[in-house]
Symmetry: C2
Subunit: 381 residues, 2 copies
């Protein structure tokens, strides 16, 4: 079955060769893109959809989200806005609620958030464990995540839970917990930060995960100029996430590597922290991705459009760079070659905006511009 999508006012293909097309058309052939070009040259197809001049962008790729949890942290948020500082320790509140929740409760919350992401134009999302922090709940979290995404990430190394010594916990995470979780995960992640895990501890966990065939990703340099970014580069991690506090050496390390710097502006928004300098990273040749970081503590948002608007407003990305970061480079952060840009042969994941240009994602902040979402060639929203 082929569908000719026409009436595309502007299409941000985010492919260096194609760039942007206006008055464009696209053929969706099954689950993939079969043809892209000017409306005038469009071939025939079984069906036809006219978008009336709307802009089309690739489906957003959210490469960093924590969606398996129970409860929320409304009071902590309100206290923070009244002046208290964000600290990693608040995670333990969610751990207690998550351990106490049934599979059905966790699944229901996860499905609700996955639905929000889809409505916000996210056609691929990563999902971490990390609110279980015991063998059973971590594995349970990953099984639940695995039902909704192929990009599930073992984050046993989120914080050290109560009731266990640091060393014993690192040994558990990189031993028995990893054994139980690796079959359900594609990635291993560690929160390398003051209040969470130091560089050596994070390395122990990540190396163990790599040895089990998982890919590495790192929560790096969110609250301090710690060694997380350098560790990510050292281990060839797919992504160093947050990158809020970077030394020149960190930027150099990233720019000479294949590790993507994934920026999470919704976390800075919701913790009232300074934003990372996205412009500095791009100017240094670093690959920059954007993700939501959706989680109940520091960024309880599924809005990739707002992440894009913040990247433009606060990090000085151009609108085109921000859209690329939320699509093509997000795919790179997940080492996915099948998604992230609109090109022949790629999966037909795309978002139709109620606007003539992708610039409106930044120009019209907070306005729900996502009017259609197509995933693998099927209209999902």
């Amino acid at each position: 079955m082929t569908v000719l999508v026409t009436g595309i006012g502007e299409m941000a293909t985010q492919d260096d060769e194609l760039g942007e097309l206006s008055d464009a058309a696209m053929i969706v052939d099954g689950s993939a893109i079969g043809w892209i070009g000017s409306r005038r040259d469009a071939p025939a197809a079984d069906e036809r959809v006219d978008l009336g001049g709307r802009a089309v962008v690739p489906g957003f790729v959210d490469s960093h989200a924590h969606l398996v949890f129970a409860g929320d942290r409304t009071a902590e948020f309100a206290a923070r806005m009244a002046g208290s500082t964000y600290a990693a320790g608040g995670i333990r509140t969610t751990v207690a609620a998550t351990r106490a929740a049934s599979d059905d409760q966790l699944r229901s919350n996860l499905e609700r958030l996955a639905g929000e992401l889809l409505s916000a134009g996210v056609t691929t999302f990563e999902c971490k464990s990390g609110y279980g922090l015991d063998v059973d709940t971590e594995q349970r979290s990953l099984r639940l995540a695995g039902a909704l995404t192929t990009e599930s990430t073992f984050l046993g190394a989120h914080v050290v839970p109560e009731g266990i010594e640091r060393d014993a916990y690192v040994e558990l995470v990189s031993g028995a917990m990893l054994d139980a979780c690796a079959p359900y995960a594609r990635w291993v992640d560690a929160f390398c930060e003051r209040g969470a895990f130091d560089v050596d501890e994070a390395r122990t966990v990540l190396v163990a995960g790599l040895a089990r065939g998982l890919g590495a990703r790192v929560h790096a340099n969110q609250l301090t100029e710690g060694g997380g970014v350098r560790l990510a580069v050292e281990l060839g991690a797919a992504s160093a996430d947050h990158c809020t506090h970077l030394s020149d050496g960190d930027v150099d390390a990233l720019s000479g590597s294949a590790t993507v710097a994934t920026l999470l502006p919704l976390a800075e928004f919701s913790t009232r922290s300074p934003y990372p300098d996205g412009r500095r990273l791009l100017d240094a040749g670093v690959q920059v991705a954007l993700a939501t970081d959706c989680n109940p503590g520091s960024a309880y948002s599924t809005s990739m459009p707002l992440a894009i608007a913040l990247a433009v407003r606060e990090m000085h990305l151009t609108p085109a760079e921000a859209v690329r970061a939320a699509t093509a480079t997000g795919a790179r952060a997940l080492q996915r070659a099948d998604i992230g840009i609109l090109a022949v042969g790629r999966r037909a994941d795309f978002v139709v905006l109620d606007a003539p240009s992708y610039v409106h994602l930044a120009y019209r902040p907070g306005v729900p511009l996502v009017s259609q979402v197509w995933r693998a060639g099927v209209r999902a929203v």
Copy 2:
């Protein structure tokens, strides 16, 4: 016809006596609120609606919006994000497009934006002219606005258009243009700012409008510490809007007056300007409202929820203060006693959130939480 609305997890009545209720219920009696209280005490009604634990807030009151225009200013926005500075002169681009547009084109754009506002939970909005700047187009703008809202505002004094001397234009606005427009307006407004109108010019226009029975409102202190705020207080204006750059004297003047300070954080967001210090104003006893400022130049957003989130994040309002600013104090800025809070006898304008608390409007930025909108007792969204 009465409707019993139950299953209200939390209701922000924004009335000093009632404050917040949990496990609440409300009777909608025709277009008004007939009863409010605890679910257990709820009287019977003709119909029943269960909200399943969702939070309810008063319908948002957007007391500052520019919705009658044609075209957009995407390129100007992109240039500004790349480093150029916002200046009032960009308004003239929209003036040219607006003058050239047909009534149908202007109405269609206005209705689209009014629909967005309603979907964002706005049950009352103000709408300014100001992109016509000739007698015919200003009157036309107000007639179009008047079909959708009672709160229409004559803003002939937006900028001096091309092709006319300043003095002659001020005379026109406060003379023949006012004569043509006053029958279609409730309010008169002036942009008192460098690049627009100085204090004496703004006073001339506003005094003329007051003499015609219009209420006054002022675009004040957006870009500079000019005299707009003091002028607003001097004239007993309902509201001084923007208030981004305030001297101590300005704050004193506001705190001793009945003039509301209406803050427009979406404008600071979209012009990358410093945010006004909402905390300072509240601490000084000033009445603070929030509005969208929706317009194609400096704030092309209809998102009152994002304005609330920004007020909390950037202006240090508490979530309760921000919701109050977007509802009760917005109503005050329009001198409306029939809307803005949930209390017996008020118009039944309310918003149902897909969240257990109004705090989520700030805690979940960018997420479309508005799940139902009731206006005058009828579900509109």
